[in-house]
Symmetry: C2
Subunit: 320 residues, 2 copies
């Protein structure tokens, strides 16, 4: 279950109640990815529900981009597990009377599936099947299947581990701001939002090089750091000035930016700049040290060595 | 992909276009269940999307029943594959402001998940995870995972095979009629609609005893027989007077009744009444011979040896 989607507070309580009812109490908030041992293989499975008006708008993205983005969001969970994607299934809800492709126009359902297939192919996975229904608004629910030789959970971080992040953060928030002011973001920024790349190769490399705990940044670094800290039973100290930011984005905005699909990872103390350079050579991505794991609970932000308050809305993650 | 959900005609064309775009042209309409070879195991995966107002109404069923029913629908696909369910994932869409459980009332999301968990437990599967989002109307998208020692597809029926069906048909239509006239069906009929039992044990038994092709009856026997015939490249002759009907239901209504979740199966000529009795002893269910596979295309209905027209709306399945 994805806890972050609904934000802190009452909705979390509801999620916890659901988990308790299912008999999974005591396993924490749970990883986004479920693991299943089958024969000699560990299967990693995750689902990601994208809804029109909640997760996307048809005026901001093409239907192919909507399909790509929904699939990338689900694949990003596999990336955080260090898993290799194998297959994708999609449940598609399509309105009956909207844009049905008369007169040579594109068919939205077909375009969404083309985007799903492109995102799957990009990481070597196949579209295996799914379901299709008429609905009032577009629904794209993607289930991804992968295999994990050495699965990485959220719960493995230990006091003394370093905290690292892939890529640069804040592009998604910047693109959203542009869309909301009726501007279409251009070039790399548009690509970042419309066709995010799940960090599959990065996640697998990190899993093979000692990653203790990993999570993808779908709810913003501050929120997801809180999830990792809670699952691992430790606190995360993060230095704001170290956050790798998208051009034109301040660190405080970068750590609140959701749907970034970068990876936040805890690595043992021995993993240093030299290892980060090896990572960059292997994946083409930056890997930046932003803090460390310490005893305690929650996320502690510092700026120039001084404690600073978390961005509004993230107090929930400061621990009980 | 489930073709039947959208009915015949333009919607089927759209589905076919989606399949073509995904590069699966030539595989027919596809089975509801995808198969994935993993190590020494064959994984069977299926998704089933249930939408408020389309597949269920909150005034007809309790939230726990909505969860059970959505899960049973997905599990029914595994049953038709002869697979053993292992795990269930659920994407849940829950409205923000409706029935949030204030003042001691039940929480709909929690109740739905309780129904999901009960249906999963009933067949020995676990709830592994899923996703949760706020939505305007309730959404329950269930993904089921299972293992299949000898998967049974829709496409294996051969001319000369016998055609059989489990249980009795028409109860779902009868219950729907009652609900639509604002009557609450009682006893076994209510149970049949609200808590349908996926035929897991039956599907596994049939897979182990030579089933050549199998499909669950989710769109009505006439429609699903058409799917099996098309996938196998044969015709199905079905004798109306042999259809096992729910008490008070006529054969013509029974073969149009959807969401029955019984199994339609092609078995080799040598499978006879004696084998059917062995099936009944093993599963507690009836297995009734209703026709045979012959050369040709589509579904041919007979009554007292004479050809009769298919029920309205199913002409599409009579073959090209």
């Amino acid at each position: 279950m994805k806890a972050g989607r609904l934000g802190p507070g009452a909705e979390f309580d509801r999620l916890r109640a659901i988990f308790a009812r299912m008999g999974t109490r005591g396993q924490g908030l749970g990883d986004d990815t479920a693991l299943l041992r089958l024969g000699g293989t560990t299967l990693a499975v995750s689902m990601d529900l994208s809804l029109e008006g909640v997760h996307f708008r048809t005026t901001w993205l093409s239907f192919a981009e909507i399909g790509w983005r929904a699939t990338a969001a689900a694949l990003s969970d596999l990336a955080a597990e260090g898993a290799k994607p194998v297959g994708v299934l999609v449940s598609l809800g399509v309105p009956g009377g909207r844009g049905k492709g008369e007169g040579g126009r594109v068919d939205p359902g077909v375009e969404i599936m083309a985007g799903v297939a492109a995102a799957a192919k990009h990481v070597g996975a196949k579209v295996l099947g799914g379901d299709l229904a008429r609905s009032e608004r577009y629904i794209v629910d993607v289930c991804v299947l992968g295999t994990a030789l050495r699965p990485v959970r959220r719960s493995g971080a230990r006091s003394g581990d370093g905290v690292w992040v892939t890529g640069a953060l804040g592009g998604a928030a910047l693109a959203l701001t542009a869309f909301r002011s009726s501007t279409v973001p251009e070039g790399a920024l548009h690509q970042r939002f419309a066709r995010p790349e799940p960090r599959i190769a990065a996640g697998r490399w990190l899993a093979q090089h000692g990653a203790r705990a990993m999570i993808d940044i779908s709810d913003g670094l501050a929120a997801d750091a809180g999830q990792l800290a809670a699952a691992s039973g430790i606190a995360l100290e993060i230095e704001l000035e170290r956050i790798p930011c998208w051009s034109g984005v301040a660190p405080r905005d970068a750590i609140a930016s959701g749907e970034e699909y970068e990876l936040l990872v805890a690595l043992p103390r021995g993993f240093g700049e030299r290892s980060a350079r090896a990572f960059a050579r292997a994946t083409g991505l930056a890997l930046t040290p932003i803090g460390r794991c310490v005893r305690g609970t929650g996320v502690r932000l510092t700026e120039a060595g001084r404690a600073v308050a978390a961005p509004a809305g993230f107090d929930h993650f400061a621990g009980p």
